[in-house]
Amino acid sequence: MSVELIVFFALAALAVGGALSLIFQRHPIHSALSLIVVMIALAGLYLLMGAEFVAAVQIIVYGGAIMVLFVFVIMLLNAGVEERTNMSKLAGYAGIPLALALTSFLAAALTRSSDAVQASAATGTAAPTKALAMLLFQDFVYPFELTSFLILVAILGAIVLAQRETSR
């Protein structure tokens, strides 16, 4: 087994373990910490594929900013240990088959397209950050700008909704 493969399986186990722990932890802060572990494991996987920029941004944006916000809100609300109720029937009868179906579809799709994925990964290794910038700001500049516009609209919407009612 090559070193890359060992590191891959270690990181993958960390990501899956973190995700399971996220669901099974009773306390919101522990769940949030598990999610941070998942984010960092994913960043490690990106690094393994040679996408250094994406890995760093993954940690800065998801591991740093977004999860800090999550932790901040949980601390601000002082959320305690969640109460467990009986599992809903719908989750048992519909959720588990649907989850299995999703996993098998994804696995099937990924195994079919694995050649294409490897080919694209091999071409982008020379200057990954520059190649990424070229893709974002030249080839896909309109979708990129549209997405940022969409996020801006969402931010404005959030501000309007969160604003206190002013007396007219």
Partner: protein
């Protein structure tokens, strides 16, 4: 044995370098506390540490021993796992961030292998640093939360809000430098400042990013430095541990070595930020003088020899016998190093780059202490207003103007 060494040379070199850097950083940390207490004391017309060793020089050692041997109670009702993890996390991340910083351009050749100063050279260096500092906030926030006490919780809350607000400005203020260098690697950023003709076409200090065209990064530097001070939780942005409001903030419930870990983490971050300021804006290890002025290469000796003799002269008149032995010893060592540098020109040439980088780091550390001695703490709403309404717009404007200037006049 030799085969084994050859096969694992890279790993061994890195291990030795890591251990050495760790030792140096921790020692510097200890003496940084002494430096800070001394400087602040003299600013307030006091003597500062004076009893333990000559001029209080053994005070850091005494503090270290005290931290190790104090009782280490765990308060009731804490979240054990998170409570123990928080100081570890803070310290580990702070120490990791130093690994990215390069300390000199030229390698040392040992047994036919080039050994560079600095542990690793990532081509996403600056991004990796930001990623590590972005995670650093969890140490403080989780310490506050897990302590099961109201003042630490308030400290943790303040710290996470502060981090979110200032990280944007911190990252945006560096973009101007990145645009000028065209690289994320710290080595490339310094190399880019070497030959650019700066203001009036002069080299040396005018080639540094803070002065060099097309758009001098003065605004970028000010934003970066202010945001970085906020990120390291130092005065005037030390609201997470404001002692007059929150007892001791996030580390109120920590004692003994767990408290020391937060302390070391804070001082290590100060060193990292000082190094980053020097590298990004002040030319890193580049000399402020033009390359033609070779006589400036004697500057380390010119500083070390008189200072060494002054320490000897001061030491022989010291009031305690211990001081009369130890201080002249230190002075002799300093003067000897200065004279050795004069006698071995190759060593002197090699030491120029680290000498300038370390001098710049020392200047920024002094500014940190200076600010602690002079500035009052901000109020919380002032802190938020300052971050969002001033720092962020200014750093964004800096990005736009720098990008426009590079587009118009071309890269320097």
């Amino acid at each position: 044995m030799i085969d084994f060494l050859n096969a694992h040379a890279e790993l061994l070199i890195n291990l030795v370098k890591t251990a050495l850097l760790l030792f140096i950083v921790l020692t510097v940390n200890a003496y940084l506390t002494w430096f800070e207490r001394k400087v602040v004391a003299h600013m307030q017309s006091r003597w500062g540490p004076h009893r333990v060793g000559p001029h209080g020089l053994l005070q850091p050692l005494a503090d270290g021993v005290k931290f190790l041997f104090k009782e280490d109670p765990t308060p009731a009702g804490v979240d054990k796992f998170v409570y123990y993890m928080a100081p570890l996390l803070a310290l580990a991340l702070a120490l990791t961030s130093i690994a990215v910083i390069p300390f000199g351009p030229d390698p040392i050749r040992v047994f036919g292998r080039d050994i560079y100063l600095g542990i690793t050279d990532l081509n996403i260096g600056i991004l990796a640093l930001f990623a590590i500092t972005a995670l650093g906030v969890y140490g403080v926030a989780l310490a506050g939360w897990s302590s099961n006490s109201k003042y630490p919780l308030l400290g943790g809350l303040r710290s996470s809000a502060q981090m979110i607000s200032y990280e944007l400005a911190l990252t945006m203020s560096v973009v101007g430098v990145l645009l000028m260098a065209g690289s994320f690697s710290l080595r490339d950023i310094i190399a880019n400042q070497q030959n650019t003709p700066g203001l009036f076409g002069w080299h040396g200090i005018f080639s540094w990013n803070i002065f060099a065209g097309p758009f001098p990064q003065i605004l970028g530097f000010l934003c970066f430095f202010v945001a970085a001070i906020a990120e390291t939780n130092r005065v005037p942005f030390d609201l997470p541990e404001a002692e007059s409001e929150l007892v001791a903030g996030f580390h109120t419930e920590y004692a003994s070595f767990k408290f020391a870990m937060f302390f070391i983490a804070e001082y290590t971050s100060m060193i990292t930020v000082s190094a980053l300021c020097s590298i990004l804006f002040f030319g890193g290890w580049l000399s402020p003088f033009p390359a033609a002025w070779t006589f400036t290469h004697y500057l380390p000796s010119i500083i070390l020899i008189p200072f060494g003799f002054w320490v000897i002269w001061d030491g022989i008149r010291y009031e305690t016998v211990f001081g009369r032995i130890i201080l002249p010893g230190i002075g002799t060592a300093m003067a000897a190093v200065g004279i050795a540098l004069l006698l071995f020109p190759t060593v002197n040439e090699f030491i120029q780059a680290p000498f300038w980088l370390l001098s710049k780091i020392l200047v920024f550390l002094f500014i940190y202490v200076w600010m602690r001695g002079t500035l009052p703490r901000l109020r919380y709403d002032q802190l938020m207003d300052f971050g969002w309404k001033l720092l962020l717009p200014v750093s964004l404007a800096n990005v736009v103007i720098t990008a426009g200037a590079i587009l118009w006049w071309g890269k320097p």
